[in-house]
Symmetry: C2
Subunit: 575 residues, 2 copies
């Protein structure tokens, strides 16, 4: 499908003027670099990454060409779910530092031209939050801050939860509270009670949180589990899915009353308004934006962008299809299909986004194989719109799947036990960033880090990749440099499977040199003919090639017979 | 996705030579007009359509611009499933005529340049077929022509079927045969026993049937229910789907052992070879082809075209997405998505195909509303590749849903009874063709026809549409005329949703005038700007407009502000 990234006349006019800066806002084409604070950089030798550590590495981001980052939660938390259980939305987790450290981080980032987006977790707080304690003791004003229910007393006198809803993390979504003598809802762990967004006081309290951080200078929020915000007021039993007979499994029911309710969109609109109002009032910093996390249907995510009435919501509803819908076994058609379906359903005039990894899913090198690292970064970074990179992917870091049971800390992994933990554990994708071949990969001077460093750090680390003639890091950095060009910002887009195993896409605009990305997703060498796809094949010149490629940047290639090695990707200019 | 209909250099060369006839075989761009023989034309006044009737109307097809037709079954049959239960594969159903009538039909068609494709029903015969009678009596050579099994004797002595497979038409797929004292498999009605394609004698017998008709001069076959051909030899129970608790419903199990087995592809390859061999030996008539009916997954249908080893199978695996995946409520994105997904997964170098209706599904006017008739024909007939039209759709015929219980003959409708028959009956889409405002719409001189004529025939009939200044028929015929142009045969293709409710696509090739189709799928008037989609908007000139359009062919339009009425479609030239 050949179309503009952003379907608006003004942008096209921009291209003609050879100056697109005025026509695309920062967040419509940036790369968001996700930092997992616990594992990025430890400044004080306690083995845990922290804010000062991040601040010390902002220069690295800037040097790489990164201009926006989103941080996994840095707020006060008992760390039952590693920060996604927040006990004070306005306080920094002490392990990570102080508010002064945060302010320094923001200031440094601003000086370096880096926007900082925080993780906002509205669906639930920690059970250690003051709000929950007050609600549990029915303190006036807090009675309905959470979702409470008496449950149902059966004929035999046994009290059971109000309905059959399972929690995402296994077991009933309801927990009996001895103090209040009622059940409370928790869609995630029992230490994460769901806030009641039907209570205007909760909405107000959360607005207050958002404004607090906006006033600190953040560029916006990544909103966690947004499709879980509301439950049907009737609290009816959900119909069974038929997928499993285990009533404690999240797959047991169809989540029609506890997920994806229409009220979610209203709350997204409310927050969008808040952000837009704040941006209008504080134009000294770039537009404040929201990114939303929801593993949801395509039409629903499209509605997050903009609903059928034209009301705009999430700037960037995360697109997880490269994580959930393609694998190392996918063929070229699967990639093209996944790209096209997003572009087709995204309402006109919005920015596409592509998430290649995060802290919850295996890394690219482990999902697609180490040979695919460069090709997947080429895909991610030359598609139209916004790219999201998880820290370490620029080096092709690999999951530490062999991490021992003793060292395992991820709650779901601990829950399933020593036999099965390796399959479900998210620890392997959260090991410390590999900065160098020094102790703990340069991440920390501690004797023991919170998670062990992947033992491959002696070879696989940033310093080594910086000094190497060719490296994943150089490829990544070259791609970011290429992204600055007008054609990459607003060029039209056209993608096609050339064969079962090779696909290509083109960024083009009349009178501009087109950029072509070609990727072989098979484990075998493939010979392809690009001349038809390119209509009038002129000369192809290599712009970026992978670390093992036989092609060098600057080299001229024949479009009619291009030989690609297994898993090879290539970015070329059409001159 | 901008691409050629047929990705081959030779075709592009053809366009440059302004003569594409040599480069595209007839079946790669034709319209297949499906005739339902029982309802097309009755020649002898018995109220049932017949072969002489069809022959008498071949001139109508030719005048309309139709050059290929496929006929629903015309073979000897007890008519339990209206011809899909065949008792002699080499004999004409007496109600429909004689072999001489058939030969005359073929000869007349050939003279008029019309290819005739027959319906081949290999999965099952009628239980009245000689083969089944011989197999039931264990006549040597026929013992294993069908799928027989002793069943299982339970502890209490009761005999039950060998497994839990349900039939497509409700109830166990196994029926006890008193004569042979075994169960036989029937994936459809119990009068349709499944042939055993693991028996080389069955394969041979069916080859013999195909060659018989090929020698009569047919252009190929539409192969019925092809994905049901093989069952797993273990006859294992299928896993439950969880969709229903009714063990007699076809939805009860996941059909992993009774449908879509890999052997299906081998049989398709075998038949392709037979057809190719026959074509090579008898080049006096055009290439013989197969079209396959399977309501199956996209990747599987793509493999029917050509598997991962490059082996070619079905020329045209029917694409039912306009029937199964879009409705009157679909928005522009749904249409674009359904078009793109087929083009993405179809292997390179094949012809796309689009089925807009058939004898098993509601008509376009009833699915999308009468106001959509012209737009849907524009969609069908200007997309790249092959179009399949069900007879009467060129007039915008409407389902006769109000057909009385007394007049209802469709087996599944009779089965569900007088309360529910209207919902499931296929009779409403099978009423006689509306030729004129004469008795029985000109279909028959009988007092009573096998199904009643739709009472709207006084207004809605071919004669009226022929004499009218504007009519669905004229639109359809104009579109067929347009299809003859080189650009429609081999032009590149590019489709996009312009807004939530309007999509457009372009057929283009350098130095040729592009053809643009624009369709509003909403019930409201829509204003759209095509200038961006068309990159360099020149002048748009209306080529075909609908019966109620305010635009006339030849009229010039501004691409930047095009007003489309509710459900309006428009085909334009870009000059
Ligand atoms: Ca630390
Ligand atoms: Ca007759």
């Amino acid at each position: 499908n050949k179309r503009n990234l952003l379907n608006s006349g003004s942008i096209m006019a921009g291209l003609v003027k050879s100056d697109t800066e005025d026509f695309i806002d920062w967040w419509q084409h940036t790369v968001f670099y996700q930092i997992y604070p616990r594992s990025f950089m430890d400044s004080n030798g306690d083995g845990i990454g922290d804010l000062k550590g991040i601040t010390s590495k902002l220069r690295y981001l800037a040097d790489t060409g990164i201009t926006a980052t989103w941080l996994s939660p840095i707020f006060q938390s008992p760390m039952v779910d590693f920060g996604y259980d927040i006990s004070d939305y306005k306080a920094i987790q002490p392990e990570y530092g102080t508010m002064a450290d945060f302010e320094e981080l923001i200031d440094t980032a601003f000086e370096l031209g880096i926007k900082v987006v925080l993780d906002f977790v509205p669906n639930h707080s920690s059970d250690q939050h003051e709000w929950f304690k007050k609600s549990a003791s029915r303190e006036p004003g807090y009675e309905d801050f959470y979702v409470w229910h008496d449950g149902i007393v059966q004929k035999n006198g046994t009290r059971v939860p109000p309905n059959n809803w399972p929690s995402v993390f296994y077991g009933s979504a309801w927990k009996w509270h001895e103090g209040r003598e009622q059940y409370y809802l928790h869609q995630f762990t029992k230490e994460q009670p769901d806030l009641n967004f039907r209570n205007p006081k909760v909405v107000q309290a959360m607005d207050d949180v958002l404004l607090f951080w906006l006033n600190k200078g953040v560029a916006g929020f990544r909103i966690d589990a947004v499709n879980h915000l509301f439950e049907d007021e009737s609290l009816k039993d959900e119909p069974l899915s038929g997928k499993t007979g285990d009533s404690l499994s999240y797959d047991y029911t169809e989540h029609i009353y506890s997920r994806d309710l229409p009220e979610v969109l209203e709350m997204i609109h409310h927050w969008r308004q808040l952000l837009d109002d704040f941006s209008a009032k504080h134009p000294e910093r770039p537009t404040r934006i929201m990114m939303t996390e929801a593993y949801a249907g395509l039409t629903q995510l499209a509605d997050y962008y903009e609903d059928s009435n034209g009301v705009r919501g999430s700037h960037l509803p995360f697109n997880f299809h490269f994580i959930t819908d393609v694998t190392g076994d996918s063929d070229a058609r699967d990639y093209v299909y996944n790209v096209e379906k997003w572009l087709i359903y995204m309402p006109r005039g919005h920015a596409a986004n592509w998430v290649m990894g995060n802290h919850d899913n295996p890394r690219v090198a482990s999902r697609f194989g180490p040979a695919s690292v460069d090709a997947m970064n080429m895909l991610l970074l030359t598609l139209p719109g916004v790219a999201v990179t998880y820290n370490g992917e620029e080096l092709g870091m690999v999951d530490y799947r062999e991490l021992s049971w003793e060292d395992t800390v991820d709650p779901p992994a601990r829950n399933v036990g020593e036999e099965l933990y390796q399959e479900v554990s998210r620890d392997p994708v959260r090991t410390p960033f590999q900065w160098s071949n020094e102790t703990n990969a340069g991440f920390s001077t501690a004797t023991k880090t919170w998670l062990p460093v992947h033992p491959n750090y002696l070879e696989l680390n940033l310093e080594a990749q910086k000094v190497a003639n060719r490296s994943h890091y150089h490829v990544y950095k070259d791609l970011l440099e290429l992204r600055k060009s007008a054609i990459m910002r607003v060029g039209r887009f056209n993608i096609e499977p050339l064969t079962r195993w090779v696909f290509a896409f083109k960024r083009s605009y009349p009178n501009f040199e087109s950029i072509i990305t070609v990727i072989n997703v098979s484990d075998k060498e493939q010979l392809v003919d690009l001349s038809e796809f390119l209509s009038h094949p002129k000369k192809l010149v290599v712009e970026v090639s992978g670390v093992d490629s036989k092609y060098q940047p600057g080299q001229s290639l024949a479009a009619s017979a291009l030989l690609l090695a297994a898993r090879e990707g290539l970015v070329c200019r059409l001159v």
